[in-house]
């Protein structure tokens, strides 16, 4: 394996807009909201940014495709702006672009910004997306909840778990995230819910009810990265650095070759192994202080903990019921509310996860601060269980 970028890239500033149904805000407003926080945090001028990466997955925004929307919104000084799109993992892809640019020496300072304006469709849930000319002719017509609900059917069958018991563990995933989200002023959903609320909610895609699904939100998040040397020169003496940044992309095996049982993410197991290797983590359940994973649906979070080797295979549902991933548990997960409650503006989500780690590692997370974190893991997934893009990043000091 290549040496990777461990400790070669420092994060010197981050920003995140409030997530939610931002009826009164344009894409430009969301970009500016996240960026102004980020640039002030970094303590640099816009003119010092050498290159930028823009993540946005769903909407072509006001200027059309490409890097223009970011360059226009921030009036960037004609630097390179690259638009990246890798489904819901787009935000992580933008960070990867910026981090690699810095690690390679091509740039001194780079910006990664993710933004999504989802609430201009007229209906709830994600916007209907084109699935391509050929795919739409043969691939099943499906929705995101329907695709992720498939996990539950296979996980249940594989581990012989009673449907009601699994549903209860899934409910705990959501109850915990609402508890955490209530302490986050930027979160989309801040209400505390009970297990009964989750269990009795209207069905979206069996067995996922409304409260098993994350918020569909408008929002933006961004990061400014540089080398640790430049960071120190800028007065950041103990900067937060990237320990690992791995992306694994499906090649069709899951849905085409008879080895995958549908109960886990093939890519997440690969990306997390590579990330632990890059970061030098040997016992993740012990070494990782907290995790922000891609909890687009409760069942996604539940099986992901096994794919990240934080829970034993077939046991994560017990860990949830035992409170291991609660804010006061052994490994707090979704301490900011996660996609479930912070919200899920597609292109921004990967960067939002890193934003929370960045705050936690600097003990700047306010009432939701966990004690003494050293390594934070983010897991950002794009696509569906049977074909996806999976990013695992580890951030530390």
């Amino acid at each position: 394996m290549a040496k990777g970028i461990k400790d070669k890239v420092a994060i010197i500033g981050m920003g995140c807009s409030k997530f939610g149904e931002r009826w009164d805000q344009d894409t430009e407003d969301l970009i500016v909201e996240a960026f102004t926080e980020c640039i002030a945090d970094a303590g640099i001028d816009t003119g010092q940014i050498d290159a930028a990466w823009l993540a946005t997955a769903k909407d072509e925004l006001h200027s059309g495709k490409g890097g223009l929307p970011l360059s226009f919104a921030l009036r960037l000084p004609n630097i390179a702006v690259t638009r990246v799109e890798n489904f819901c993992a787009s935000g992580s892809e933008a960070l990867r672009g910026a981090a690699y640019a810095v690690a390679s020496g091509a740039c001194d300072i780079a910006l990664a910004l993710g933004v999504e304006k989802l609430k201009d469709t007229g209906y709830g849930g994600l916007p209907e997306a084109s699935r391509g000319v050929l795919n739409s002719m043969w691939w099943a017509n499906y929705s995101a909840p329907g695709a992720f609900a498939q996990l539950a059917s296979a996980y249940r069958a594989k581990h012989g778990i009673d449907a009601d018991e699994l549903k209860r563990a899934m409910a705990h995933v959501s109850v915990k995230s609402h508890q955490n989200g209530s302490r986050n002023p930027k979160a989309h959903l801040r209400n505390i819910i009970t297990e009964d609320t989750v269990l009795n909610a209207p069905m979206i895609a069996e067995p996922l009810g409304v409260f098993d699904c994350c918020g569909v939100s408008d929002g933006a998040a961004c990061a400014i990265v540089t080398t640790p040397e430049i960071a120190r020169a800028l007065g950041k003496n103990d900067p937060v650095t990237i320990k690992a940044l791995q992306i694994s992309v499906s090649n069709g095996l899951e849905s085409g070759f008879n080895t995958w049982d549908g109960s886990y993410f093939h890519t997440a197991r690969i990306a997390s192994k590579r990330a632990y290797e890059e970061a030098g983590v040997t016992n993740p359940r012990q070494e990782i202080s907290l995790a922000e994973v891609h909890d687009c649906f409760s069942i996604t979070e539940l099986v992901t903990m096994e794919d990240l080797f934080l829970s034993e295979e077939g046991q994560s549902w017990r860990d949830y019921l035992d409170g291991f991933y609660d804010s006061d548990g052994g490994l707090p997960c979704q301490i900011d509310g996660g996609l479930k409650c912070f919200g899920h503006p597609i292109g921004a989500s990967g960067l939002r996860m890193v934003y929370e780690m960045y705050l936690q590692l600097q003990e700047r997370a306010g009432p939701r601060q966990v004690s003494n974190p050293t390594l934070g893991l983010t897991h950002n997934l794009g696509g569906a269980p049977h074909q996806n893009v999976c990013s695992v990043a580890i951030i530390g000091r």
Binding site: T121, G122, Y123, G125, E128, S130, V133, L134, S136, M137, W138, W139, A140, N141, Y142, S143, P145, G146, A147, A149, Q150, L151, A152, S153, A154, R156, A157, P202, M203, I204, A205, E206, P207, L208, N251, G252, L253, S255, G256, F257, N258, D261, G262, P385, H386
Partner: protein, 488 residues
């Protein structure tokens, strides 16, 4: 010896109890006190998909050497795009075959069968008749009509029923008509149809056919007769001198009158219970009359299609309510929701390039490692192989499958929510993320056995186009009955 070699049938699983028609139309007399039911197409079924299923049943014994595929229908979805060509693609019979669509009359089914029998040669002809009957809500025909299809192969060898002869008469007797581009029939008075039409035209045609074949009416063991108005078969039989016990059951109260497919569907049902050495008369009525005569051979005793009429009639499910039938039949305009607003334009260039996948469900089998995969791609999917351009075409249509993952989705657009779909795994390899059809909520789980069925995948409402693909349907024992559920 020219004759019928194999036969098959398909009737949609969904059935509309006749009492629902009166329950659904308060104040109407239609269907009041009526027992029985009729078949109705599911939202994703039409003449093409039913024709494919009937043909698959007909070819279930592994029929070889077909040189032509014919489709008879007056309700085929395309006026100018060969419907039989779509069926041929779904049957994966290759592309070096002839084909034709035959329509324009309720005689279209028998005319095709007569022509095929008259043209019998070394190669076989596949004759399919399929009808998806459109009737207005409240029309008397709503009670009498049904949807279904039958298929036959004809040829000179191994015939189960020998062709003895035929007669046809043609006169422009307009008992009903439907103008091009219209959906609904316009009927004239039943008494005129009966007395001046059927009773004067049909018995005479039967007489001519019998004379040509050198048979007398009382030698007919099974008489498949038309009934353009109710209760006409007995009268026709009497007028033609046929034995009353020879009158073949007309599938009334189970399927209904399936139009130009009906004489052929009744013939399939008759062959199913006939013994060798029996004589069959098949008659149709529509701007004249066709009559053809067959005699079953000893080969009939050793033949049975996979499902047949009995099997497909028994594989039934009551529709949950009349309104659902109306919406499936396009008789009421439903709110489809914003999620149905997407443009389903089909790239015809792309559809043609991958026609073997899209119509034939043809994937690949790697000649290097044997891995089966769908779709067929340039590099092998097996991580331990990865050879380039080693995949030979492999058809998955008849391979049984089982569910690996599934869900019932209440969010995405489906005319009959919830939408069931999931990952299926074919026996001996190959997978597909497939839409399911004919699922009763609660009936499926991981491991459920499925068979593939050719169905309508999407409608392009803007351009009045429809595209087809294969869906996974739960395997159903012939006698198994299930209940449909209302939209939840």
């Amino acid at each position: 010896m020219s004759g019928i070699v194999t036969y098959g049938a398909y009737v949609p699983r969904l059935r509309l109890p006749l009492r629902m028609i009166s329950e659904g139309q308060p104040g109407a007399k239609q269907g009041r006190g009526k027992s029985g039911e009729r078949s109705v197409c599911n939202w994703d079924e039409d003449v093409i998909t039913m024709g494919v299923e009937a043909a698959r049943d007909c070819l279930s014994g592994g029929v070889q050497d077909i040189d032509s595929v014919w489709l008879s229908s007056t309700t085929a979805p395309f006026a100018d795009r060969q419907n039989s060509g779509v069926i041929m693609g779904a049957l994966n019979l290759g592309e070096s075959l002839g084909s034709q669509d035959i329509g324009g009359s309720q005689r279209a089914g028998t005319t095709a069968l007569i022509n095929a029998l008259n043209m019998s040669g070394e190669a076989k002809k596949l004759v399919i008749a399929s009808e998806n009957r459109h009737v207005r809500a409240g029309s008397p025909h709503e009670l009498r009509f049904g949807d279904g299809a039958a298929a036959f192969t004809t040829g000179n060898h191994d015939v189960i029923a020998e062709f003895l002869g035929c007669a046809s008469r043609t006169m422009d007797f307009v008992d009903h008509f439907r103008a091009s581009g219209e959906q609904d029939d316009y009927f004239w008075e039943e008494r005129w149809i009966r007395d001046e039409g059927a009773m004067k035209i049909v018995p005479q045609t039967i007489e001519i056919a019998l004379a040509k074949a050198g048979l007398s009416a009382d030698e007919i063991d099974h008489a498949i007769l038309p009934s353009p108005v109710p209760r006409l078969r007995e009268r026709i039989a009497k007028a033609a001198g046929l034995k009353e016990e020879a009158i073949a059951p007309a599938l009334e109260g189970t399927v209904g009158d399936t139009g130009c497919a009906h004489p052929l569907l009744m013939l399939a049902a008759t062959l199913e219970k006939a013994s060798p050495g029996e004589t069959i008369l098949v008659v149709s009525f529509g701007q004249g009359c066709d009559a053809l005569l067959l005699r079953t051979t000893d080969a009939l005793a050793g033949y049975a299609p996979a499902t047949g009429v009995t099997g497909t009639v028994a594989a039934r499910r009551e529709i949950s309510d009349y309104a659902k039938y109306l919406s499936f039949a396009g008789l009421i305009e439903r709110e489809l929701g914003m999620r149905a607003e997407g443009d389903n334009k089909t790239a015809l260039t792309q559809a043609y390039r991958r026609r073997d996948l899209l119509h034939g469900l043809v994937g690949g089998e790697c000649s290097a490692c044997g891995t089966r995969q769908l779709p067929r791609t340039r590099y092998c999917i097996n991580p331990n192989c990865r050879e380039l351009d080693t995949q030979e075409p492999f058809c998955f249509a008849d391979i049984p499958a089982r569910i690996v993952t599934w869900s019932a989705d209440h969010l995405s657009f489906n005319p009959d929510p919830p939408s069931h779909y999931g990952l299926i795994e074919f026996e001996d390899g190959g997978r597909m993320f497939a839409n399911f059809a004919e699922v009763v909520p609660g009936q499926i789980d991981v491991g459920t056995r499925m068979r593939m069925a050719f169905r309508i995948k999407d409608f392009d409402r803007k351009r009045n186009f429809r595209r087809y693909f294969w869906k996974a349907v739960p395997e159903m024992a012939p006698s198994e009955e299930t209940r449909d559920q209302p939209h939840g």
